[in-house]
């Protein structure tokens, strides 16, 4: 498969995965681009390139993780813009969507980096053997860890929604 076709097939899911992992579209775009720059010159089939790209990209995310955590704390501490009377009628929906996004992000942040990566790779259709290879665990452990991570996400996400509802 030529590089151009490989790029068009793999860049969108890689960007989506990184955006979900980092919560920052600009960072996701930078890292996805860097991963592809490193891929060029290594002849690979799509089947091999996909796990390789996701592994390299996740490692790049990990390298910058501390900086992003600091940045997100600063953003969360800032007051949310309150729409004035002349704002679009859909402002409430926008604010609600923003709160929803924050809930999902916080629930993901409560997972360990490994569990977060595994759940997001599962969402991208990776097989258990591929997930195991990338994360560095036995394939037989993947199901158990995914089940725990899903339950953990549900606990934290559900708690936040209940908490927000009681404050309405």
């Amino acid at each position: 498969m030529d590089v151009d076709t490989l790029f068009r097939r793999l860049y969108p899911p890689l960007f989506r995965y990184l955006n979900r992992l980092t919560g920052e579209p600009d960072t996701a775009a930078d890292i996805a681009q860097e991963a592809f720059v490193r891929l060029l010159g290594r002849p690979m089939t799509e089947k091999d390139a996909r796990p390789w790209l996701f592994t390299v990209a996740t490692n790049l995310v990990r390298d910058g993780a501390r900086q992003r955590t600091r940045r997100r704390r600063v953003m969360a501490a800032s007051p949310t813009a309150v729409p004035g009377p002349r704002t679009s009628p859909r402002a409430d929906e926008t604010v609600e969507r923003g709160e929803g996004i924050e809930r999902v992000r916080m629930a993901l942040d409560h997972l360990s980096p490994r569990d977060r990566q595994m759940l997001l790779m599962r969402q991208e259709g990776f097989r258990y053997r591929e997930i195991a290879d990338v994360v560095g665990i036995a394939p037989t452990s993947v199901g158990t860890l995914l089940a725990r991570a899903l339950h953990r996400f549900k606990e934290v996400y559900g708690e936040q929604r209940d908490s927000d509802d009681t404050h309405v």
Partner: protein, 268 residues
Amino acid sequence: MVNRGIPMIHTSKGTLVALLDGELSAADRSGVEHHLSDCPVCTAEMESLREISANFSVALRLLDSPAPPLDDTYRAVLRERARRQWKREFGRSLRRAAILVLGVAGVASATIPGSPVRDWAIDLWDRIEPGPERAVPMRTDAPAGVDAEVSPTGVSILPADGRVLIALQEPAPALEVRVRISDGGRAEVRATGEAVDARFRIAPGRIEVVGASAGILHIDLPRSARSAAIEIGGKPYLVKDGDQLRVLAPSADRAGAEVIFRIGRQSP
């Protein structure tokens, strides 16, 4: 059919998720589905997992943003790749020029018996260019005559005349190397974590691993090899002595049958 008095063994959540994801073999799937048809507890858990998984997918979609335009991004990737290649080539040209100067200095100083300049030039030469006995062609596939299996994260080869050498060049200080003897007939190197960006060079009976970043390199040395060794940065770290691994490095740990080197802990 419920067996009264004998507690039913329920299916683990991990197995149920694997069933949901289509990861079970046909035989295992059949067994689990048969159990589910008779176990309301596991059936309820299965439905719960299905719902949690679906809700997770929906929640994730809240996070999605449009990707940058593909054409622009692809052009940026190609430009950056070209820039880095130019930078590497320019660096190589500078090194070649330095080698030429050193060569001339070395020849000139060789005429002086016992000259320390001669020794210095030889030492510097070895550090800039690997000696002819270690020169290995840069390949991403196996050269003719070498039975090599290559994957994106590792390689394996058969010994040549019963001998195997694994040589690590430019490893990152945070790299961990784990070595064990295996009963398979092949020498294998697998990279996990950040080490997957390592480059592999293959020659008969030899695997070179270049530029492995922080992560873990797993090395299996075949028990059947008459001689097997690991070098890091040109220095011998370990040899296989019969069924034992003899450590020559300054610092190593053992975990069961595995020898573990942490590159950053090796004293110069």
